[in-house]
Symmetry: C2
Subunit: 315 residues, 2 copies
């Protein structure tokens, strides 16, 4: 029964999506789905309540912003079977971990319209207000754990490349792997993994992009694409463009090449930075990133330190 | 009922252990445990069947090799609550993973007298014949994933140090972290981990030591301590000595110091080696190991390559 309901809702969304922003009459929906017009109305009401933006008018129903819908059927056949979409999750990371342990294929994507307890690095809260693009990639590469770091760099590189190409914005990657726009945080990345017998079982990379959401007062260093571009943009376009770029980029892993390309897009090298680890704090001039992704930091005495992890602040 | 039986067997073993190799009469066991002599006999028979070496004689029962017993009560109070001992497991790695996800404390130890499907690196079969020391350490350190590698080096260093001190044997550590004796494999290490929110959830380090077992014909490059020393030795002494050394070594993590000490004990540096990865093969002279545990390999043209993972063969 639940599944039937879910399928009918899914079918309604698909019909509305295929009509783009055009209005679809209740009669057409009723006929197509072989349900009463009252049932159509009930399903539409329920869909609206769960967050789908549907306009009701005397002529019928229309999907607002169809280009922003993130349901599997919106994606090309290359990706649509790997998309897991949820209106609300506690966290895409937790859901992705559970799905990865089952039979999710390599390069699956877990999307939530809203996260109630989104997580950032070091278990900080990650704000996930409506309109942002919040997803976790599930990767199951034939990779030993010491090479897993490269997927984070590949993901931030692909995102940076995709956003530049789509919107001509001057984004930069911040070491180790967030994205900045106008020196403010546009994208946060967080990765988790499980290894087994010296091989990676899965690497999950959580990605939060401020797209059409409005960063809150308590996120003064965050910026959204909508803010900068002055108009909302399609999250689906961003995700699909990113997936294409990322998929081709990781087909053959060449760490040197990925790090070299990443370095071309980073604003960290050449900046004065403060790196905070669990136990230490380092300050200095970021002079390079080596082929393993470690940051080379020159302190006030001129000495070069190699920093392999930490939270980075451009000062 | 099962628990009661288990506790009585446990109590019998404890009484026999405390008597060291002395014979304990059936009457004394019967009185101490408030069970019939027939019940004592039945429990002893069951214990023998599950692999405990108990001698029955007209005067009673005696534990053979009490110094080799690995039950929790054999260990000092510092460790005994963290010991999980099994007569037989499919693999200590799999059991440790399950226990780590529950509430096993940091520095727990999962021991099996026998593994039916022991795993080595790259999912190779690891032979675990009776008499060897097969265990997995469960570590739950406050450590970010890029630093997890140091625990493997700390473990091989502590093992090498402990075995040298106990038996004055010329063991060496092979990059990345097995132990050799007379150029044959004495110890194999295998680590697995789970990370969450950019922090390590657990690192499990599986350790297999050929102690009193006889490496088989299909392990021509393996050697056991018993072979080399010409007599069996106490596995419990090895494990407890190692745990003491390892625990103090990881109280404050200093990667440079651990790698420096490890380098003093390695036979890899200065050797010609072949490194096999999933996709490549590298040959050359191992000239150094850097502070992140990567091997510096000089090829025939004199060029130095940095190798961050792989199976290593001294050629």
């Amino acid at each position: 029964m639940v599944n039937t309901n879910k399928n009918i809702k899914h079918d309604i969304l698909k019909i509305l999506y295929q009509a783009k922003a055009d209005t679809v009459s209740g009669v057409r929906l009723s006929d197509s789905l072989d349900i009463s017009r009252v049932a159509v109305w009930k399903h539409i009401t329920a869909l609206k309540q769960t967050g789908f933006e549907i306009e009701s008018c005397p002529k019928g129903y229309a999907l607002l912003n169809p280009d922003d819908l993130l349901l599997p059927f919106c994606f090309s056949s290359e990706f649509k079977t790997n998309i897991f979409h949820f209106q609300e999750l506690e966290s895409t990371m937790d859901k992705a971990r559970a799905i990865a342990k089952k039979d999710a294929p390599h390069l699956s994507v877990v999307i939530a319209e809203n996260q109630t307890t989104g997580r950032g690095r070091l278990n900080r809260k990650w704000f996930s207000s409506k309109g942002g693009l919040w997803f976790t990639l599930i990767l199951k590469p034939d990779t030993p754990p010491p090479l897993a770091y490269i997927y984070n760099f590949a993901a931030s590189l692909s995102l940076s490349t995709s956003l530049k190409r789509l919107f001509d914005v001057n984004v930069s990657v911040k070491w180790p792997n967030d994205l900045l726009l106008n020196d403010k945080k546009l994208v946060g990345l967080l990765s988790e993994m499980e290894t087994r017998g010296d091989m990676v079982e899965f690497v999950n990379i959580g990605i939060g992009i401020n797209v059409n959401n409005q960063p809150q007062k308590y996120e003064p260093k965050a910026v959204s694409l909508k803010d900068v571009l002055g108009k909302p943009v399609s999250r689906k376009l961003i995700l699909e463009t990113f997936l294409h770029d990322f998929k081709s980029r990781i087909q053959v892993i060449d760490c040197h090449k990925i790090i070299d390309l990443w370095k071309e897009q980073t604003s960290t090298i050449g900046s004065r930075v403060r790196i905070e680890t669990l136990k230490d704090m380092h300050e200095g001039l970021a002079v390079d990133v080596d082929e393993t992704g470690a940051l080379m930091l020159q302190d006030s005495t001129g000495e070069i330190k190699k920093i392999i992890y930490g939270d980075c602040f451009h000062t």
